[in-house]
Structure formats: C-alpha cells, structure tokens
C-alpha cells in the first residue's frame, strides 16, 4: 500500500505535470513547485478523493491571509501529508 507521501507526490506530479523526482517532502507546493491556485484546486480534489477527506483549504488560506500562519504547515509537501494523516485519523475515531 502506498504511503501518504507517495500518493500525494504522485497526485502533484500527475495533475501539475511535474517530474516525480523534483518533488521532495521539503518542497513547498506553491513556492518551490510553482503550482498555481487552479492546479492546487485539482490537487485538492484528487487528495480529497484518494483519502476520503475534505482538506480545509479555505480555513488554511484564511489563516494565512490573516497572518495567523505562514502556510508552511499546510503547503510543504511533508507537512501536507501530516495534515492528511491527522484528518484521516480524526475520521477513523
């Protein structure tokens, strides 16, 4: 069974046409991988579908825009995977 990271990296690669080897757990989806907002919408949809969750992207963006968070905790690939695992764990409870 693929890990969360393998699945997420595969989704980013296929939806945004980014070579898999360019993606690392430390990559920032927007700043490093240059994924734009529309492409991130596609990534969000694929992640939601793959993991049966609903990534709270609106809340995240709200927190970033209000200066409460920098966004690294959501948009760095490794951190994004941790967020996904947390959401899945919450669903399983």
């Amino acid at each position: 069974m693929a890990s969360t990271y393998e699945t997420v990296a595969g989704i980013i690669s296929s939806t945004s046409d980014i070579p898999l080897e360019r993606i690392t757990p430390q990559s920032h989806v927007m700043k490093d991988l240059e994924v734009d907002s529309l492409a991130f919408l596609d990534i969000t949809f694929e992640i939601d579908q793959a993991f049966g969750i609903k990534l709270p992207v609106e809340d995240w963006m709200g927190r970033v825009n209000e200066g409460k968070d920098k966004g690294d905790e959501y948009f760095i690939v490794g951190n994004l995977c941790s967020q996904i695992d947390s959401l899945r764990a919450a669903l399983a409870e």
């Binding site: 919408l41 596609d42 969000t44 949809f45 579908q49 609903k54 709270p56 992207v57």
Partner: protein, 156 residues
C-alpha cells in the same frame, strides 16, 4: 435564453439541495445577435455557450445550497463534449449533479439533453467565494428570484 446577456436558464424543473442535483430548462431563441456570427448561413449554438449553460445550472444549484451567500465561479472544465449541433428553437434539459463538495470548491457533472438525446456533457469545477461586489450580488439575487430560487424579500 438571452444569449447576448448570458442569461442561459429559463426555469428550474427540479432541484434537490440535499443531494445537490438540479434539472433546469433552457430554450434556445430563434433570433439572437450571436447567430449573426455563429455561423452566417448556418446558425448553431456556440459550444462555449453550451458550457456556460451547464456552468450556470451548477452555479445556481450551489447558491441554492448556500443561501445565495457566496458566488460560485467557473474554474475549470474537464472532458467537455459537444456531441450534436444545437439549433435555434431547441429546448434543452440542463442537468447538474455534485460529484464532490470540497472546501471552497465543488466538482460537478453536468449535461444537456435535447428531445431525450444527450447533446453535451462536462465535468466542471466551481470555486466558491464571497461576492466581489454588491452590484454582482444584487444581479445574481435578481436572477435567483427570476428562476424561483429566492422570494421577493430575499432578492434584495
């Protein structure tokens, strides 16, 4: 339909806000300035306007769900197919169903039927945000009233 005003839907046949599903009716006019150019001597509905018709059904469905509090904008179309020419005078059944309701966006499966035959279908992504201007909100609410989504007092 008033094509030149992007007024694509004429009435709502059925709507299920819980299951996020809508069927609307769109009557293609016999006369429109759009047909002067599309095409001279062979008048057919432009594919982009068929796509817009499906997007509007999806959009009004999402607004019916959120109480016309936020506006869905057309973000992307995937697998858009135009299977038959649509001629002036056609009556279209416009269907939209929610495939996935995400955070601030929804992916919709949509289709158009004419006399029981599917003439177009597409998977659309709608991004929902706050109304960017009061004038747009007022216009959309008036349209919502015309289509029966909102009562007079709610239309503003």
């Amino acid at each position: 339909m008033r094509l030149e005003n992007f007024q694509m839907l004429d009435e709502v046949e059925t709507i299920d806000v819980e299951r996020l599903s809508i069927v609307a009716i769109a009557r293609v006019p016999y006369e429109s300035p759009v047909f002067d150019g599309h095409f001279p001597g062979y008048r057919i509905m432009p594919g982009v306007l068929l796509l817009e018709t499906m997007a509007q059904a999806a959009g009004y469905l999402l607004m019916a769900q959120n109480g016309f509090a936020r506006m869905p904008f057309f973000a992307s179309a995937k697998t858009a197919n135009f299977r038959s020419f649509v001629l002036p005078g056609s009556v279209l059944k416009v269907k939209a169903d929610c495939l996935h309701a995400g955070s601030g966006y929804a992916v919709m499966t949509t289709s158009l039927e004419c006399e029981g035959t599917r003439v177009s279908d597409a998977q659309l992504t709608m991004r929902t945000i706050a109304f960017p201007t009061p004038a747009l909100e007022q216009h959309v609410r008036r349209e919502g009233q015309r289509l029966g989504f909102l009562k007079n007092a709610e239309a503003g």
